[in-house]
Subunit: 318 residues, 2 copies
Amino acid sequence: MDSISSPQAEMLLDEEPQGGPTFLDRLFDHGLLIRTGVDGLYGRSGAFESVVEALDRLISRLGAADGAEVMRFPPGMSRPAFERSGYLKGFPNLAGTIHSFCGDGAGHAEILACVEEGRDWTDQQEATDVVLTPAACYPLYPVAAARGALPAEGRLFDLQSYCFRREPSLEPTRMQLFRMREYVRMGSPEQVLAFRESWLERGTAMMRDLGLPLAIDVANDPFFGRAGRMLANNQRAQGLKFELNVPVNSVEKPTACLSFNYHQDHFGSTWELRQADGSVAHTACVGFGLERITLALLKHHGLDLAAWPEAVRDALWG
Amino acid sequence: MDSISSPQAEMLLDEEPQGGPTFLDRLFDHGLLIRTGVDGLYGRSGAFESVVEALDRLISRLGAADGAEVMRFPPGMSRPAFERSGYLKGFPNLAGTIHSFCGDGAGHAEILACVEEGRDWTDQQEATDVVLTPAACYPLYPVAAARGALPAEGRLFDLQSYCFRREPSLEPTRMQLFRMREYVRMGSPEQVLAFRESWLERGTAMMRDLGLPLAIDVANDPFFGRAGRMLANNQRAQGLKFELNVPVNSVEKPTACLSFNYHQDHFGSTWELRQADGSVAHTACVGFGLERITLALLKHHGLDLAAWPEAVRDALWG
């Protein structure tokens, strides 16, 4: 697929004035995001959440006719399932494992003494069987595979969850904990590619209706290390993943707000998920970064929601 | 306050037949909860989520007139804030710290070899500055304190987040990751106790409208270890925390679905939060266990939402 751009994509971004407050600072000053002392970990105001919720409902409306099965997973998943998923091959540095204290009273006393004296107390923490969810669809594949072979028409799922990626940053669009909405299609290559194509169109139309300048391009995932460069080249060369980018932090490095991902038979093979005819299932997903789209709206339409263009407010709350 | 019971509280719970499927099994079989392979970590169906969302809206309606400030925090919080909060004194075993890999290509190769061979790969994980949120209000106190002294009328906040507690269990009401809705009041002792009293009434009325048998009693928190017994005795003797209990897993050990917690000046002192007159602020909160109330409804009204009593459906979706 060729890269496509909306007429607005070349629109100049209203850049932050040199030396003035950054976009992140302005979000804090207006109370839309709330500082926690950790970069990329923020509270959200009621106004911010009202946009996230409106987007979530808008995406539901756009997908309603497809009759996806709704599932919601908590922000953590089984570690064995996470290990098997293959995530550690590409992104070991982004994963978050959950550790807990399994000691006794003496260990507890040591923890409290460490905290009191400002020393590290976490060396008694042991890895649990829970890992933070890296993308909303990761907990789904083993669940879908456990149901047996797909029906002839395949399956379609509707997911949303908080996801974790360990990449502390001052770019407001790069949060450590953020929400991802996803539709996931499982079936034949033709079925899942047709699904991806339909969401490339719907997602583009949705973002144009929201008055956002955009461009669709092949994805540029930050695979880890030297071996990762090969994974990234392969992903690009095969056109496996597209992103819908909107300039938020800068025009030069726009922000991926939606992604359209064809996994081929990766998850099908990994989880032994089969089509009705017994061949390995293919999968594809469309992901919506709910905080990122919200931030794109705040950047382009301003920090006062009541002053957003009527058409945008109608698309969200009409 | 005396313990109060609704007339229904002595109603016999429709116990699972001996040797038949447990309540948890029936929830899996009906697809309301979804297995992940980890006890206490489950997916939720669209039907389950529709109840959680309806409860969330119902609680919003009940509190609407108070004009609480809405804030939403992600399921993780700053580790320094967590350490200062005092949570580790009472519940070190329930906390979940987030760890990540900070190594290089050689470390990455070692991780992948471990996963391949089924060996533990987590010893290269290092503690980050993020901890899973143990209760929805924990991230709030430092944020509120950073604003300076309270106004004369105090403050009121509206929170909801996924919370983590490391207590794997086969009781469906004891999940490792679950959602807690909270209102948090900050002000004088009189202000925060009046708030707690009003929610004892509202919460009781809400649960009666939902057709649930209930009893309110002093809380019985599972403080850790020998020193914990003193903390628990103190909490009970001073009537600091009440719980609204509904029989779900059994009549003998009913489930705390709501809690009403007077922290005295604990968080005020910890975070140097002051009243308008300069004295240390007192705080109180009411917490709603959204999954627990949902499970209580499923237990008492059945697994088919469409067959729930008209009055209950009206209260939720009317």
